[in-house]
């Protein structure tokens, strides 16, 4: 039974994406269940998280797995145990999958070199957050009428791309699904060599809409980066990079990985508007992570058989 780590989406092809999304739908519709019965899923969170941790735990339990949860408070992690030692411990305790959140890029790939269990990257530093990008793709394809409806759509990724692990997973996954991406951010919030992605860089939400963007995917701007050297003020940021009600015309959709800073990335009156997929993204968390854990542990082959 082959296991499969989810470290990044940089080498995941279109058919693999479609397969995971199809399986997520089967989970959501209750057509599959109990895929992880008798398995142990370990959540190792070296960085605090609410929605990702909760959504993984629910997903694992709904699939019938036992769940062990280590967080940075009150565990060996808090006592300064190294990443490798924690992973080896979980491996020897019989983990069938390790879900890892860590503040440094590359932590998931380092962990995967020290365990035979599949590692699911639940966000590492500014590196990758593959499960977020997959649930985004799921929520968007559902809103548009199916996976094949994604091809040719125009999505603007807006905001702090520099520090965003979400963007680094969304860019390759959305591109593989046939989506045309543009980046909208001040240069101080873009990686120096963002050009390596080969994507157009635009200067405001308005410009993105003028160029035909149908989906405005906004990224979280951490509070500590709001004032000071990277952007001059929240007001100026919101004026050019915030999504406001005036931008919602002709079916424009709005996305955000959460948690939203209302009035910064998205206007307070837009977050829960019909145009907003933010609640749908949260709802996609459990079925998509169920599908990912099912594929990761090799249980998907049983489902297919």
């Amino acid at each position: 039974m082959g296991v499969k780590s989810f470290l990044s989406l940089e080498h995941t092809n279109r058919e693999e994406l479609r397969g995971i999304l199809d399986l997520a739908r089967a989970h959501e519709e209750g057509r599959v269940g109990g895929t992880l019965a008798g398995k142990t899923v370990c959540l190792a969170f070296f960085e605090s998280s609410t929605r990702t941790a909760v959504s993984f735990e629910l997903a694992a339990r709904r699939c019938g797995a036992d769940v062990i949860s280590l967080s940075d408070k009150g565990s060996a992690i808090a006592k300064g145990e190294s990443l490798i030692d924690t992973v080896v411990t979980l491996d020897r305790l019989g983990a069938d999958a390790i879900v890892l959140r860590h503040p440094a890029a590359g932590a998931a790939s380092l962990a995967s070199r020290h365990t035979a269990a599949p590692v699911v990257n639940a966000g590492d530093g500014c590196g990758q957050h593959p499960t977020q990008a997959l649930l985004d793709l799921y929520a968007l394809s559902k809103a548009l009428g199916g996976f094949d409806e994604l091809a040719g759509r125009r999505v603007a990724i807006i905001g702090d791309v520099l520090h965003s692990r979400v963007a680094r997973s969304v860019i390759p996954a959305f591109t593989e699904a046939g989506i045309e991406i543009s980046l909208v951010a001040p240069r101080t919030l873009l990686p120096r060599d963002a050009g390596a992605w080969g994507l157009p860089v635009l200067s405001s939400v308005d410009e993105a809409l003028d160029r035909g963007a149908e989906v405005l995917y906004t990224l979280r701007l951490q509070k500590e980066r709001m004032t000071g050297a990277l952007i001059p003020s929240v007001g100026e940021y919101a004026r050019f990079y915030g999504v406001a009600r005036r931008h919602l015309r002709g079916g424009t959709l709005v996305m955000h990985p959460g948690p939203v800073n209302r009035g910064v990335e998205i206007g307070g009156d837009v977050v829960l508007d019909a145009a907003s997929l933010v609640p749908n993204q949260v709802a996609a968390g459990v079925p998509v992570r169920s599908a990912i854990l099912t594929v990761a542990t090799g249980a998907a082959q049983r489902v297919a058989a």
């Binding site: 590359g106 380092l110 530093g125 500014c126 990758q128 990686p191 060599d193």
Partner: protein
């Protein structure tokens, strides 16, 4: 400890010293720790058959971290000097960023005594330019010199403010101490890898090349202004090399670059492995090529390894958390011979000049293969291919960026003061009855 010298004749080696013009197969007699005779058909009580091997002046490395005092679990004077000897180095300058920092006369004199007892090669001490390497108070440079310091350095800290650096350089000049400067502006060098394509795509915090260039320009301008004898270490960008060239005739300045900046590039950081973190960071190919061209042209005077051992628990970490630094001694010649000489980018003459003659001149000893000179030599098999393996490292640590790579050219014998301090010559050393 350097053993008492006895006579030794090295026979049939291809002797190469760009400094003296020697380039051909001949014999060399070592007597009393010095080179006594160079010529054909020399015989002696002890003979080393070096047929098929090259004999160079011993290499000199002005940048090494032997982690003593404080981190003897990573390297000691004994293991560091054995590692240097295994790489053909006969002279080394030890950097001051230890624990405690080498910033007081008592630490310098203590180190000097331990070097005498434990080092296989000629080790010199670089003391700190500022107390605690904090970039604030000047160290007691004249007392440090009396205690045995050879030079002063800010390595391990990087560039203090220009004003503080200027005072340090001015005082070092009056103390008669050369400076080795690590040029890095901390307001720019906020990342862990080079700020380039690999860092952008991987989401790793980057430090721009400008962090080095701004600090190099500052150091060079102040060298010109203060008249201090200034050595810029581990130049890793094409622009910094060009700045050194500009100041060549305007200041008393020399510069080195490292084997890793000459042979490796920042695409390695896309592996996300902590092993590949180093300061200054690995750069893009354009910088690697630019630095290589500067070394070829003599704009950069020589090579230094920045040998920086780290325990495995400091390297087997995500890149952002790993300690910066690579082992350097044991792979330096082989990496440069394989990647630069065999590819036609650098002549063997220039490589020997950059590893032996030029750094030897800088420290004032070694780097010359001529009658009357100190018998510090490296014996090298240019045809041996070998794979770099953590199990066979002589250093106490194993954080080499070349692990797993097969290199060509291997040091088989290192002679300090006429005695073999590293010996892989096997049966070739015979005693005539």
């Amino acid at each position: 400890m350097i053993p008492a010298p006895t006579d030794l004749v090295i026979r049939h080696a291809h002797v190469l010293d760009p400094g003296t013009g020697l380039d051909g197969v001949t014999d060399v007699r070592l007597t009393g720790g010095r080179i006594a005779e160079v010529g054909g058909n020399l015989r002696g009580a002890r003979e080393l058959d070096a047929d098929g091997l090259h004999l160079f002046p011993g290499f000199v490395d002005v940048h090494a971290h032997w982690r003593t005092p404080g981190r003897e679990d990573e390297e000691t004077i004994e293991t560091g000097s054995a590692s240097a000897a295994a790489g053909g180095f006969t002279g080394v300058v030890m950097m001051p960023n230890t624990d405690p920092v080498v910033d007081s006369p008592v630490v310098v004199s203590g180190l000097a005594r331990r070097i005498e007892r434990e080092s296989r090669v000629r080790a010199r001490i670089s003391a700190a330019l500022h107390v605690g390497l904090k970039g604030e108070r000047l160290t007691e440079m004249r007392l440090l010199k009396e205690a045995g310091a050879f030079c002063v350095s800010d390595d391990g800290l990087g560039t203090a403010s220009a004003g503080i650096l200027r005072n340090g350089m001015t005082y070092a000049r009056s103390a008669g101490l050369p400076l080795i400067l690590h040029c890095e502006d901390h307001t720019l060098a906020t990342g862990v890898v080079h700020e380039g394509v690999a860092a952008s795509l991987a989401g790793l915090p980057g430090s721009p090349a400008g962090a080095e260039d701004v600090a190099t320009a500052t150091a060079l301008i102040l060298a010109a202004e203060t008249g201090a004898t200034t050595h810029i270490t581990h130049v890793s960008t094409a622009l910094s090399a060009a700045l050194v060239a500009f100041f060549r005739d305007r200041a008393s300045v020399t510069a080195d670059t490292t084997p890793h900046h000459l042979t490796l590039t920042d695409d390695l950081v896309s592996t996300l492995e902590g092993l590949y973190r180093v300061n200054p960071p690995l750069r893009p190919d354009a910088d690697r090529a630019g630095v290589g061209e500067a070394l070829r042209a003599g704009v950069l005077d020589f090579v230094a390894t920045d040998h920086a051992p780290h325990a495995s628990e400091e390297k087997e970490l995500p890149l952002e958390e790993a300690a910066p630094g690579f082992l350097g001694h044991e792979t330096a010649f082989a990496a440069l011979y394989s990647e630069l000489v065999l590819t036609g980018k650098l002549t063997l003459h220039r490589l020997v000049e950059a590893m032996s003659c030029a750094p030897g001149r800088w420290v004032g000893e070694g780097g010359r293969l001529a009658v009357g000179e100190t018998a510090d030599l490296a014996l090298v098999d240019l045809s041996e291919r070998w794979t770099v393996d953590s199990g066979t490292m002589i250093s106490r640590s194993s954080n080499s960026p070349y692990l797993g790579r097969t290199l060509t050219g291997r040091v088989v014998g290192t002679i300090v003061g006429g005695e073999l301090v590293h010996d892989r010559t096997g049966a070739k050393l015979g005693t005539r009855g």
